[in-house]
């Protein structure tokens, strides 16, 4: 019996080997902890300065009828929130039909061969840097598309920015929607065909309703991305230096992200209003919570599809 006991001791392994295992585990664990530290750091670094801004700023300046002109002390939030919403809405009108349509085609209609070609091209589009799309919006979308269709549109306008943001997020909408459509079990489609339904009826009445929460998630995620998109807006929306409150999408305007870029580029050279710099953090915090809320809702919808099947 003594032999068995000593075997049991041996099974626990050499102490040096176990110590090494433990150290390696700790190293990986701290790598995972970094992500939590980053989240905390984001919240703390934003909240501190945003509070400085809120305590120091005159509340009437946050709703100034003059618009968003930080250098003159006017921080009208309605101006930049309206600009952000207009661009996001246009982007959604572009990327919704294009992205969801592309997803339905890829998931339901495309032959495997065609899919093998189309999908990578869509992924290439997803990899185009936003600064490039911004330049394209300024030199092509605005003069060749927006100004030709709508008379009276200025070269810098919210519509061109919205269309470019829409193109930027189309691959994302397509990819998330396609995943949702693919997760609808084939048996449901087969049941529909078995009852004599055509392909279009099956797609419209069975597959799409089955994937609807996933498609909703894709669209919510798209809005979140559109709200946070910066470079396209900075290049083509035309709000650098400030903007009065405007709702006309054919004219220049300012968004939350555009305002932050303008503040960032200017803050090195211009020491005007003392609050311009802290205002950057206030807008950043607002942006952070808006996108976070949308992302959490989107995540809920995605989970609903996953749980269903």
């Amino acid at each position: 019996m003594a032999a068995v006991e000593s075997n049991l001791v041996d099974l626990s392994g050499a102490p040096a080997r176990r110590r090494k295992e433990e150290i390696i585990r700790r190293i990986f664990q701290s790598a995972a902890a970094v992500s939590v530290i980053i989240s905390a750091a984001i919240v703390f670094s934003l909240i501190g300065r945003a509070m400085d801004f809120l305590f120091a700023v005159d509340v009437s300046a946050l709703f100034s009828p003059s618009g968003w002109f930080p250098r003159r002390g006017f921080y009208d939030l309605r101006t930049i929130v309206a600009g952000t919403l207009i661009i996001s809405l246009i982007a959604l009108l572009v990327s919704g039909p294009l992205g969801v349509g592309a997803a339905i085609y890829l998931a339901e209609y495309a032959r495997p061969r065609m899919r093998r070609w189309l999908k990578p091209i869509l992924e290439i589009l997803a990899g185009i840097p936003s600064v490039v799309l911004g330049f394209f919006a300024l030199t092509w979308i605005s003069p060749e598309l927006v100004q030709r269709i709508f008379e009276g549109a200025t070269l810098f306008n919210l519509t061109a920015a919205g269309i470019a943001v829409g193109i930027l997020i189309t691959p994302l909408v397509a990819s998330v929607s396609e995943d949702a459509l693919r997760s609808v079990p084939v048996s449901l489609r087969e049941a529909s065909y078995g009852l004599g339904a055509s392909k279009i009826s099956t797609t419209l009445r069975v597959t799409i309703p089955g994937a609807i929460s996933g498609i909703a998630a894709a669209l919510i995620l798209a809005i979140s991305r559109a709200i946070g998109e910066t470079m396209i807006v900075a290049i083509v929306a035309g709000g650098t230096g400030g903007s009065p409150f405007r709702l006309n999408p054919l004219q220049p305007g300012q968004t939350m992200t555009g305002a932050m870029t303008a503040l960032a580029i200017g803050s090195d050279q211009v020491k005007g209003e003392a609050l311009t710099f802290p205002s950057l953090f206030f807008v950043g915090l607002l942006l952070f919570f808006m996108t976070l809320a949308l992302n959490v809702v989107s995540e809920r919808f995605v989970r609903r599809v996953r749980e269903k099947y």
Binding site: V34, S35, G101, S130, I167, I200, M260, I265, L287
Partner: protein
Amino acid sequence: MSGGVRTMGTGDIVAAKLQHRRIDLRGKVFEYLLLLSLLISLLFLAVLLFEVTSRGIGVFQERGADFLTGRLSVVTAMTAGVGQAIMGSLLVLVVVVLVAIPIGVGAAIYMEEYAADTKVTRFINVNIRNLAGVPAIVYGLLGLVLFVQILPGITGGKTALTGGLTLAILVLPIVIITSSEALRAVPDSIREAGIGVGATKWEVIRSHVLPSALPGILTGTILSLSRALGETAPLLLVGATTGFLATGGANFFEMFRDSYTTLPTVIFRWSSLPSADFRALTSAAILVLLAITILANAAAIILRNRYERKW
């Protein structure tokens, strides 16, 4: 059924329905509309590539490699180039590779291989996904506070190192998520076989799990680097220079603690200059950036398709 139809017999009607393939017009229109929505996005991509190439190609024909080595300028279009911008992007990417890849892959290994399914683990997972959705410009604010204002002793303020660390934090969630997916695709039987012959957890990971997951991890890494290469907004906040940049005579390591600019930053700055000369320069710089990102993305896609293993 009523009247004359009955004389045909139900069986005949069914046979006729089955044999005569009616063209489903509604279905065809629907299908082509769907295809159209896909083609419109691809058309935008084609127009973008054509426009940028036709505007920018002249710069390469006239000046050749001189443009690739020239110095940053917003005044003289004739001699302005992207040499410093390419160098700056390279410095920033080196920092991203050294910081984001080890931490990202390490975190993924912990989440997939070590962590038990507890509340804490689930919280970290949700947290990582939320980080992936934070707008890029917010990371710029974090970098500004953390690396420029709190840690200038280490980073030297608005330097290439600061830019690199900021972008490393930005791509970290993407590296973690893609690496986790690659690790999850490795079947448990591989791990069990290793454990069964007496290997420790780390030995199994190092010799079996990681090699099997490597193509997937590599794909995610390339995609996140290409994302970092094209990112502009956060760098504007942590001091990528948009104007004049002194030539650093310093050695490679000192350059990390020097002021810097990057390729997309230069594109942004030049795109605000209305002169035709700078429009051409912007397009040429975009061609350089697109060539690198498209090649990197294509490599990642090919890598994924080739080594995608079905267990």
